[in-house]
């Protein structure tokens, strides 16, 4: 299917609904398998870290969720740009449905980072560069969520969130850099939670598996949420009525 | 490809909150036309005007409009400025170096040019918005309930301005509840779906 028609077809919600049906299951199963394999591998088979001992195994859930929470925001920024420039309905729906998942992943990354800090530094919360930029990212998500709730009209809320997501995406690297610079300056040589020294393969392989798994989860959850949003918005159309009647 | 029409609506359709406001609306407004847009509250009069003005974008179909001036429910007159300052800001905005004073005199604000609008009555504030109609020199006027808060002389003034504008080759689309009673009035009635197309008078 040439890209042009794919791009055009992406615009029609009904085609999106039918096409994405099977993909939700494929991605969902892959995510479950990958996450289980990666986690068990990391928990049981990977060697413990000589410095941190077994608390290092938290990396196999902290890093994937941290990575996916940032890529979800990047996705929201991209959807915002597509919505503002080409006004595609699907982009508006992605912007409306991906925020809760992104928010929960950021909160999870923050939680696991904090819990990991307890055995490492002895306190539940530490203003480390990673946890701080995660916290600011969480506030950016709250901002998106609150703005959508505050604007009654759906089309206006969509476009307003698109602008905010764009501003947020432009700001994420700046926030990350300023936080990294400021906090690492004031905490000499703390152990960096993620960019650990060169990890041997048996340590980072399960990590790679989990990262892949969490991306499949993102795909599955996003597509499922998108399909539900399509049904909601196309509620009065004929094909949705048939679907409801056939249910 | 600027046809002689000042405004061309083709296949215009818009839903708001799930209700069809207007559907497949085709309408042309030529120079010298005065169109009165009527219909019950919430029938989409303001939405149609705002769509033509470019403030509202969620419609399907095409709108081709000459340079226009839209006067909405709120007169866009800052109470903390004087009529002169309000008009001068507007003139800078549209990039015209006309003199606001004669227009202010024309709408009966002679002697009030320097007083802050907050000390003027609502009717006088709306007259500042009318002065802008003269200053704007835009062929197409979109007026949303222009008679509100105006006394009799104010309403007569609106009619004179519209008649004068229409005679000089301009066009006016006016949404109102009470007809202005002008001579060559074309009606465009918006209402329940079935009557909107029926009411369209070519």
């Amino acid at each position: 299917m040439p890209l042009k028609t794919l791009w055009h077809r992406m615009g029609s919600p009904r085609w999106m609904y039918q096409m994405s049906g099977s993909w939700v299951w494929v991605l969902g199963v892959m995510a479950t398998v990958l996450l289980i394999v990666g986690s068990l591998w990391g928990l049981a088979f990977a060697p413990a870290d000589y410095q941190q001992g077994n608390s290092f195994r938290i990396i196999y859930i902290h890093v994937p969720t941290a990575i996916v929470s940032q890529s979800t925001y990047m996705l929201l920024g991209a959807a915002g740009l597509v919505l503002l420039v080409w006004r595609m309905k699907v982009a508006d729906m992605v912007l409306a449905t991906a925020v809760p998942f992104g928010m929960s992943m950021t909160a999870l990354a923050l939680f696991t980072g904090a819990v990991w800090g307890k055995p490492t530094w002895g306190t539940w919360w530490v203003w480390d560069a990673r946890t701080t930029s995660m916290l600011v990212l969480l506030f950016l998500y709250f901002g998106l969520y609150a703005l959508r709730q505050a604007i009654p009209r759906q089309e206006t809320a969509g476009r307003a969130c698109a602008v905010l997501a764009l501003v947020g995406v432009i700001n994420i690297p700046i926030i990350k850099y300023s936080v990294d610079w400021w906090l690492t300056l004031h905490q000499p040589a703390t152990f960096k939670l993620t960019e650990a020294p060169a990890m041997p393969p048996e340590m980072w392989l399960p990590l790679a598996v989990n990262v892949l798994g969490i991306y499949c989860l993102l795909g599955a959850v996003l597509l499922a949420a998108l399909r539900l949003e399509i049904l909601r918005r196309e509620r009065d159309t004929q094909w949705v009525r048939e679907l409801v009647a056939a249910r | 490809m600027m046809t002689t029409h000042l405004l061309t609506l083709s296949g215009l359709a818009c839903q708001r909150e799930g209700r069809d406001l207007f559907d497949d609306l085709d309408y042309q407004v030529a120079p010298g036309d005065y169109v009165e847009l009527t219909g019950p509250n919430g029938s989409g009069k303001s939405t149609l005007l705002r769509s033509i003005a470019g403030l509202f974008a969620d419609y399907s179909g095409a709108i081709e409009a000459a340079p226009l001036l839209y006067v909405g429910h709120r007169p866009a007159v800052s109470p903390l400025l004087s009529p002169l300052d309000n008009c001068q800001w507007f003139l800078d905005l549209v990039g015209s170096d006309a003199d606001p004073l004669p227009a202010l005199a024309r709408v009966g604000l002679a002697g009030f040019e320097e007083i802050l609008c907050q000390q003027l009555s609502a009717g006088q504030q709306r007259r500042v918005a009318l002065a802008r109609l003269i200053l704007a020199q835009r062929p197409l006027w979109l007026l949303d309930e222009p008679l509100t808060a105006l006394d009799d002389s104010g309403q007569r003034l609106v009619c004179q301005l519209i008649e004068q504008h229409v005679e000089t080759g301009g066009a006016v689309v006016c949404a109102t509840h009470q007809s202005l009673g002008l001579s060559a009035t074309r009606a465009l009635v918006l209402g329940e779906r079935q009557s909107s197309t029926a009411g369209v008078v070519a």
Binding site: L84, V136, F139, L140, F142, G143, A146, L147, A150, I151, P152, R153, E155, T156, R159, A160, V163, L164, L166, V167, G168, I170, N171, I174, I175, Y177, S178, V179, W181, W182, L185 | A53, G54, L55, F56, A57, D58, Y70, G72, H73, R74, P75, A76, V77, S78, P79, L80, L81, D85, Q88, W89, F90, L91, D92, L93, V94, G95, D97, L116
Partner: protein, 225 residues
């Protein structure tokens, strides 16, 4: 003439509005000094404790005062319909928007920079650090007005936009706060801090080039209601 005319015309209008609402626009500055005294009282007025925290206190309160001043940026014009006229008539829209943001910066960021020595005095900030504080405020506060204007434009048509505006804008202020307060802290420790000030300048320049267009888009969206 017209392009410059639009900018100058809008600026002239903003200054005339400024004259009429002087007292109201002084409120963010009064808030700044009220909050400063609260900090001093909270800290028991002891110089040692306040001095170490002075850069952070001043910069955070400048952020919050700037946020309060954002209410006046579009709200009044939205209420009387001038914002709608502006969005309809101005071509290109970002020029009058830039004029409004400049006017907002003058009565918030610039005013706070001018009053900063007073703030430094009551928090016992060492005198030799004052130039750095003024420089960071001068360079950093335009970014606050520019970024804040985007939030103000997004929430202008909402009745209870205040708290939401803070929620949208404060996370975006984090880099400005970090580099601004950071530079002053480093000046107190005698470390070279020009790098942070250059970074503040970078943020302000990026904001200057991008924000007006985003604000224009946000205004058009907010007026669709």
């Amino acid at each position: 003439m017209s392009v410059a005319g639009v900018f100058v015309g809008q600026l002239r209008r903003e200054f005339k509005l400024l004259l009429q609402s002087r007292e109201e626009l002084a409120n963010p500055l009064i808030f700044l000094f009220l909050a400063l005294t609260l900090f001093a009282l909270g800290g028991g007025g002891s110089p040692e404790m306040l001095r170490d925290f002075a850069p952070a206190i001043i910069w955070v309160l400048v952020l919050l005062a700037n946020l309060l001043a954002l209410e006046g940026l579009f709200r009044r014009d939205y209420d009387d319909g001038s914002l709608e006229m502006l969005v309809l008539m101005a071509e290109p829209l970002f020029l009058p928007v830039l004029a409004k943001i400049l006017a907002h910066w003058i009565y918030s960021g610039l005013a706070m920079t001018v009053l900063a020595p007073l703030a430094a005095l009551i928090l016992f900030l060492p005198a030799e650090v004052l130039p750095t504080l003024l420089l960071t405020l001068l360079v950093g506060t335009p970014a606050l007005s520019l970024i804040g204007a985007i939030g103000a434009a997004l929430t202008v048509s909402l009745r209870r936009g205040g708290v939401l505006l803070a929620l949208l804008v404060l996370p975006l202020y984090v880099p400005v706060l970090i580099f601004g307060a950071g530079a002053v802290v480093e000046a107190m420790a005698g470390i070279e801090n020009m790098a942070q000030i250059y970074w503040l300048l970078v943020i302000t320049m990026v904001a200057l080039t991008i924000a007006p267009f985003l604000v224009s888009a946000a205004l058009k969206i907010s007026l669709e209601q």
